[in-house]
Each structure stands twice: as C-alpha cells, then as structure tokens.
C-alpha cells in the first residue's frame, strides 16, 4: 500500500521532468557557453555571459523592470480587490456570471488586447477624444509610448491573476465570522479591517505574486505601448533570442530573472508560513 503514492505521482514527475526541468537545464547549459562571432555555440565553458548580464549598464533596465512590474501588480491588486470582494460576498446567485464576465476579455489574445490599447491611447484615439470633448484638456495628450502606458498595459494584462486568488480566499472564508463580528458590535469598517482583510491576506499575497512574476518577464507591453526609455528586461531577452542570435547571453539574462523571481517566491512562502503561525 505504501508504494501506491509514488505510482500516482509518476505522471506528475514525468511532466515536471519533460516540461520544466529539461528546458531549464538547456537554458542553464547554454548560459555557460561562449558563442562564435556568428553566434554558433562553442564547446568551451565561460562565465562571460553572466559578466555581460551583470554589467552595471544593465542596472537601469533592471530597476525599471521591477518598478513597472511592481506598480502594475500593485494597481492590479487595488483594482482587483473590490471586484473579488463584490463577486465573493455580494453577487449571490449571479456569482458565476460575474466570474465569467471577469474572464471574458481574456479569451482574446494578450497581443490583440495590447494593440487595442494602442488605438485607445494614441493622439487621435478614443481617450483623447473623450478628454477633449469634455473640455478637460485643450490639446491632445501624448499618452502612448510613455511609462504610464506600459504600466497600464501590464496592469490590464495580469489583473485576473491578482483578482482570482483574492476571490478564492474570500469565497472560502467562513461567512459566519462576519455575522459573529457584527453580533459582537463591530461596524462595517471594523469587520473589514479585523476579519475580512486578514483572512484574505493569503489571496492578496498570492495575487501579488501571480501578477508580478509574469509582468516581470513581459516584453509585449513595453514593445507596443512604450517608448525607447521604457524597455524592460524581457525586451532585452527577446532581442537576444529573436533579434540577434545570442542564445547563451539570453539564457544568462533569463536565469538572472529566474533567480530574482525565485527569491520573491521564497520571500512569499516565508511571509505566508509566518501568517499561519500567527
């Protein structure tokens, strides 16, 4: 009987080996090899790709990546929380309908939706038209190719990843706790602050992580909505793979990003387990 769990785990382990470990090993292997002037991977070993990746000149793009991804994740949480709260606690019978509505835009490709933002934000686009007709501005604003546009694109792109975990944690909460708090004389604000918010915190943290990590590696938003000063690390990596042909350098950059993301996940796990102990 004791051996059954391993048998049951086999498909999962095979899946991990094929789809996660194998590609990762190939990326690690590449990152330690030099390339010929024509980008052929050479059999020698080197740390040059890491030296190049850690070049201080790359610091601004790294800092910007964290700033944009962090802002987007933060905004996604602020916007996603009320939505999750409403669906989980107030929507009643129509819960599933609202969940579908939340996911509906995401049945369209991320790329297409980012293009849609271009037409909204461009100088003669929808948003400027509205602002001008309302008399809020006298000249059309340059909204496209700005940091704000990139952060907006990232926020919009990853908002369901922030919203759904919050929804799940609110949904699973024992609703009788709210009634109990009310019976004990708590007002709405106190109920939220003392009961709902602490119980939704794991969802908030998961949502923060799930929206932050993909935003960190994204290149589409910066490519389409950003200007020359808005490029993120994802753009640099994408350029190594598809623009030039320097896969080893691209691999080193990707691993750098993976290491930083892993640090984030570990930090999250620490906070999470700390929460449980409390």
């Amino acid at each position: 009987m004791r051996k059954t769990p391993w048998k049951l785990l086999a498909p999962f382990i095979l899946f991990e080996l094929f789809f996660i470990l194998a590609p990762l090993c190939s990326v690690i292997w590449q990152s330690f090899h030099p390339v010929s002037p024509d980008y052929e991977i050479l059999p020698q070993w080197t740390l040059a790709n890491y030296r190049k990746a850690l070049d201080p000149a790359n610091l601004p793009i790294l800092g910007r990546t964290f700033l944009y991804a962090g802002s987007a994740s933060f905004l996604a949480l602020i916007l996603g929380y009320p939505v999750a709260y409403f669906i989980a606690l107030k929507a009643g019978r129509r819960k599933n309908l609202f969940l579908i509505l939340l996911m509906l835009p995401f049945w369209t490709s991320y790329l297409i939706r980012t293009y849609a933002w271009m037409t909204i934000l461009q100088t003669d686009g929808l948003l400027n038209y509205v602002l001008l007709s309302l008399g809020l501005v006298s000249e059309p604003l340059q909204l496209l190719n700005t940091p704000g546009a990139v952060i907006l694109g990232l926020t919009y792109g990853f908002i369901p990843f922030a919203t759904l975990p919050i929804f799940v944690s609110l949904e699973q909460m024992d609703k009788r706790l709210i009634d109990a708090a009310r019976d004990l004389g708590a007002n709405d604000f106190q109920i939220f602050k003392e009961v709902i918010w602490p119980l939704s915190l794991p969802g908030v943290l998961a949502g923060a992580l799930l929206s932050f990590v993909p935003a960190l590696g994204d290149f589409v938003a910066a490519e389409l909505l950003g200007g020359p000063d808005d490029q993120m690390i994802g753009n640099l990596i994408q350029q190594q793979y598809l623009g030039s042909f320097n896969w080893p350098f691209g691999s080193a950059l990707s691993l750098l990003l993976i290491v930083m993301m892993t640090a984030g996940v570990i930090a999250y796990a620490r906070v999470e387990s700390g929460e449980e102990e409390r």
Binding site: D38, T123, G227, P228, Q240, L242, G243, S244
Partner: protein, 339 residues
C-alpha cells in the same frame, strides 16, 4: 444546403487527403509582411495548380534564426541581400542558377555584391532606406540626414528597429562607411545614436501608421512603405539624403531543406514575367528588377526617389554588406543604444 455532420466529416477527410496526396503541388512561401500584390498568390495557384501556404515575417533576423536552427518546410524565402550572403556562408541555400533563365535585369542589379552571379538568389523587390516626413510639419525641404538629429523634433521621429538600417544611418550621417567594422567608427556611431535618442518616439519597423496619423513628423523608413503611406496621406514625402543611403535588394532564395524546390522554381519563373512583377511593384511601392516590366508600372513610381530613382541618385546608393565576424559587434551596439 444543410451541412450535416457527415458532410462535414467527409469534407475534412478530403482536405486531409489533399494535403497528403499533393506532395509536389504545394509551395510554402515565407515573405516579408506587405510584400506582395493581393492577386499574385491567387493567380499563381489558378495557373499552376500549386497550393500556396503563405507566411509572413517582419524581421529578417527572425527569418534567419528560424532557418538556422533547422525549422524546415519553407520552399521559398525572401531575404535581404546581406542575409543572402550570410545564408550562403552558412550553407543554407539551394543553388538555382542552372534552373532559372534570368530575364534582363536593371543594370545596377546585374551583379549584386552578395551574389554576383545570381547563383543562389533572384532579385525580388528593391528599394532604399531614406527619410519619410510630413511636408506640412517640416517645410524646410530637407536633403540631409541631419533632419533626424534636429532638436526641434523631440519625440517626433521613429527609427527602424533593424540594426543594419539604424546604425547605417548614423554612419552615413557621420560620413563614415555604412558597413563599417572599425570599432572606433562604430563607437562614434553609437554616441551619435544616443544623441538622437531623445527625439525617438520608438524604435519600430511599423513606422507608417504613426507617420500617416501625424503622431510622428519624420521617420527612418523604407521607400515602398513610404509610398504606401503617401497613398493614404499625400502630405508624406520621401527623400534620399545627400550623404548617401542604403540600397536593398530583397531576393528570392530556396532553402536547402525545401521539401518542394520544384514548386519554388515555378513561382520564381512566374514572378519574373513582366506583367506579374509589375502588379507587385504597383501594390507595394517597391521596384522590381525586370527591365521589361518598367514600362508597365505606375508612372508615379518612375524617376522618383520612392520607386525607380534616377541614375544620378542611384550612384549615391550603397549595398548592405555581410558583416562577417563583426555581426555580434553590431548586435551588441544596437542593444546598448536601445536599452
């Protein structure tokens, strides 16, 4: 007619059989985006009975990367001249000189440096990299690359996201060789591009939309794309700066791995007919190599820097040469400018 499930199944089955059976009746064509006439493929399919799978790329580097890592299945590919040289060097191309009887080409295309005897390539469309600008916003009748360094154009220009064109532009601007592999010269080009950067709204190869809508006032751009933009907004003009410009010859090549080289050869022969290639020129704004088709093309494109530049202008055009082992230096430089 009611489409029953059974009919549908039969239909899919027939489609599947069609794919499996017609081994030599298929052509997988990989071309630049917006680089063909709307009727070309349809007419070719009708005449030859060959079914064409048409796929587009928007970056020559991506196209090269795909072929180099061994993505097979493409029978016919359009490649810029310098890329043809690089592909020959990597032994990626099928020699086609013995299978193609070339018509009379325009004199400046007779012996391109990347493939002087047309052993591996047939010129498809050619054009120039110059400056497209909005003549209502810029009224100074510019003639020099220095327009793209004019401080009054802050956030009003776009630069092609192609290292060859962008770094080449800086080298022309500095009066240096546009194919330079000298590290000191390239460093100067980098400084020049960084100096230009505050003017750049974005680095992109899709520059025409911004120009048409007036978001940008000037762009480093390709002649035919500017010609297409001009059709939607007549205020857009084009010039070839006096310091010199790139001439590019995008050519038809057959990868060694092509599953249907015969079909590719058929298409090349079809393309070289004057009445076929003139349609492509009229639709794309890019000149074709065939002398006999010149009288058939839209007169607007003749003797015009956009289409067929006059001879004295042609003298001031330079080919993009293969960079050999300095390719990586250019790549790094371009990444450093953009980051």
């Amino acid at each position: 007619m009611k489409l029953s499930r059974r009919h549908f199944l039969m239909g899919t089955l027939a489609l599947g059989l069609g794919c499996a059976r017609g081994r030599d009746r298929v052509l997988n064509f990989y071309n630049w985006s917006n680089f063909i006439a709307p009727n070309t493929i349809r007419d070719f399919e009708k005449e030859s009975g060959i079914r064409v799978n048409y796929e587009e790329f928007s970056s020559a580097d991506v196209m090269f990367a795909k072929l180099k890592i061994g993505v097979t299945g493409y029978d016919l590919v359009v490649a810029p001249g310098y890329m043809v040289r690089r592909m020959i060097r990597h032994d990626l191309l099928y020699p086609l000189s013995k299978d193609i009887t070339a018509p009379e080409y325009l004199p400046h295309l007779n012996s391109p440096p990347f493939d002087p005897k047309h052993e591996y390539s047939v010129p498809y469309l050619w054009g120039t990299t110059g400056v497209g600008y909005n003549s209502k916003k810029i009224t100074t009748n510019p003639k020099s690359w220095s327009l793209l360094w004019d401080k009054s154009l802050e956030k009003r220009i776009t630069v092609l996201d192609e290292k060859r064109d962008a770094i080449g532009m800086a080298l022309f601007h500095l009066g240096l060789s546009p194919n330079s592999t000298d590290l000191k010269e390239l460093e100067r080009a980098k400084q020049s591009l960084l100096e230009q950067r505050p003017l750049v709204r974005r680095y992109t190869s899709d520059f025409t939309d911004d120009l048409i809508r007036g978001e940008t006032w000037a762009a480093l751009g390709w002649s035919g794309d500017v010609a297409q933009a001009q059709a939607s907004n007549p205020e857009i003009q084009y010039y070839l700066p006096d310091e010199g410009c790139f001439l590019f010859v995008d050519s038809l090549v057959i990868p060694r791995s092509a599953p249907h080289p015969e079909a590719a050869l058929d298409f090349i022969r079809y393309f070289l007919r004057p009445e076929v290639c003139k349609d492509i020129t009229n639709a794309t704004g890019y000149a074709n190599p065939v002398v006999a088709s010149k009288p058939l093309v839209d007169p607007k494109l003749l003797n015009n820097s956009l289409g067929y530049p006059p001879d004295d202008v042609l003298k001031n055009l330079y080919y993009q040469e293969d960079l050999g082992d300095k390719e990586a230096v250019w790549d790094d430089l371009w990444a450093e400018v953009k980051r």
